[in-house]
């Protein structure tokens, strides 16, 4: 997949008026976040690592992301979102049980740990979690569909799209204070925003049938 904003790096704006002190601090810490130890067992961590890679791959030719470390931190702090279906346990327990069940599912289907199976096989299991077609008894009263929809997917994409590499790859302006934006109308952008590469632009230009 071509990166439509190949010349753009949101981090290059770190020392411009687009970032305030607080934001620099927050993003610096995020980029430096290490995977907390003793939060997950080795197998759980290996399973989570593959899930992150399959569900939220890093954009090619961009600095590696810290998504895995953010999820582990969330589990370590048992951080909630302010709501959960009554059949889902709290964040940490929910993740640990889900990871164990996915590992068990891999062993049942492929006789091999989730971290060691082929990517296609990992995807097959993840699709099965998504649609609730699971065999492992470890799921117990934890619904795979609910786990996927209310825990796994939102946690993963929220952490992944908190990464500057992903902001760059999607052409997002990134942090914006004190400097915001001036040019607000379609097909206009400020010099401190991402420019879209011409080639990908035309492939996106699906409809030009209204005026301008």
């Amino acid at each position: 997949m071509a990166d439509p904003f190949s010349a753009y790096d949101v981090l290059a704006k770190r020392d411009t008026p687009s970032w305030n002190e607080r934001t620099r601090d927050v993003i610096d810490k995020r980029l430096a976040l290490a995977i907390a130890e003793n939060v997950l067992g080795d197998t759980q961590l290996a399973t989570l690592r593959v899930i992150v890679a399959r569900v939220c791959p890093d954009p090619p030719d961009r600095p590696a992301t810290n998504t895995l470390a953010m999820i582990v931190r969330k589990i370590a702090e048992d951080e909630g979102d302010g709501y959960r279906p009554h059949t889902l346990p709290r964040t940490a327990e929910c993740w640990r049980r889900g990871l164990d069940a996915i590992e068990d599912e891999a062993r049942l289907r492929f006789n091999c740990g989730f971290a060691s199976i082929e990517p296609d096989q990992a995807d097959e299991i993840l699709y099965a979690v998504e649609s609730g077609k699971m065999c492992s008894e470890l799921w117990g009263n934890l619904s795979p569909e609910l786990f996927w929809k209310w825990r796994l997917l939102p946690d993963l994409v929220s952490s992944h799209w908190a990464q500057p590499s992903l902001w760059s790859a999607m052409g997002f302006g990134g942090p914006a204070s004190p400097r915001g934006y001036v040019r607000l109308t379609e097909n206009r952008h400020d010099p401190w925003e991402a420019s879209e590469d011409a080639a990908t632009n035309s492939s996106h230009a699906l409809s030009q049938d209204h005026e301008e």
């Binding site: 008026p17 204070s177 004190p178 400097r179 001036v182 040019r183 005026e211």
Partner: protein, 274 residues
């Protein structure tokens, strides 16, 4: 004696034209930069106003009388008038095709009507100044020497400029009481000047209100510079705030028009004296 006054009046009018053209140059540079120069024609007012500045500034600064107006100079002024008129048409067209059409929101935020009109005004003033200076009695069908036509023209320009300030300061909800100044003093000056144009008599109120308008135009730049600093990030965030804040280059247009008006008064006084 009378020739000296004519020349001095020409210098004042040229000076006014220079200031207006200067305001147009810096304002259109900033505003068309905001518009990313999406249309190549957006460079035209920069060139036209710059040429006007060179020619009119030269006349304003020069002490000696000139001969006949050169074709290069006439061409410059014709270009300013032409580019301004075309810009006016284009800006109106542009507003018409926005969602909402001729709505207040589009007059606030889309291509302004006043700016290209100011370029027309600068070009016409410049042409008049050069014609006066060369001793011509008229510019086309318009008589120059009495100063009354010029006074009427500048009164019109003043009213238009005040109208634009009223519109844009309404957009800013007159959040600062000083924003009322350009919608009170210049209209008074415009009325007084119009009266002078009709009667041919110069009242001290006319002179005083024109002088006040000229001063206000320069003061306005300071106010607008302060206004820019009132935006988030202040002048450190100038790349945004020069565009988002009040236009620093706009108020001198008031000074330019008022100074041209004072030039016209010089001519009128000559007749009322003699």
């Amino acid at each position: 004696m009378s020739g000296d006054i004519t020349h001095r009046a020409a210098q004042w009018i040229a000076g006014g034209a220079t200031l207006v053209a200067g305001s147009v140059l810096s304002d259109s540079a900033i505003e068309h930069y905001r518009g990313s120069f999406a249309n190549k024609a957006m460079f035209l007012p920069l060139g036209a106003s710059a040429l006007s500045i060179v020619h009119d500034g030269n006349l304003a600064a020069r002490g000696a009388r000139t001969g006949a107006v050169g074709s290069w100079t006439s061409g410059t002024h014709a270009a300013s008038v032409g580019v301004g008129a075309a810009g006016l048409g284009f800006h109106v067209y542009n507003i018409a095709k926005q969602p909402g059409g001729f709505s207040l929101g589009n007059f606030f935020y889309q291509a302004p009507i006043g700016a290209p009109a100011a370029l027309v005004f600068a070009g016409a003033l410049g042409a008049a100044a050069h014609a006066l200076s060369s001793g011509a009695s008229a510019l086309g069908p318009v008589p120059l020497q009495s100063g009354r036509a010029l006074a009427g023209f500048t009164a019109l320009g003043l009213a238009g400029t005040a109208g634009e300030a009223a519109l844009l300061h309404f957009r800013g909800a007159y959040h600062n009481p000083a924003m009322w100044l350009p919608v009170t003093i210049p209209p008074m000056a415009a009325l007084a000047l119009a009266r002078t144009a009709l009667t041919g008599r110069v009242h001290w109120v006319t002179t005083a209100s024109l002088a006040a308008t000229a001063a206000l135009g320069l003061l306005g730049t300071a106010f607008h510079a302060y206004g820019v600093s009132r935006n988030m990030g202040g002048w450190k965030n100038w790349r945004q705030n020069l565009l988002a804040g009040p236009p620093v280059a706009a108020p001198p247009a008031f000074a330019g028009v008022a100074i041209a008006g004072l030039g016209a008064l010089l001519l009128i006084r000559r007749f009322s004296r003699g």
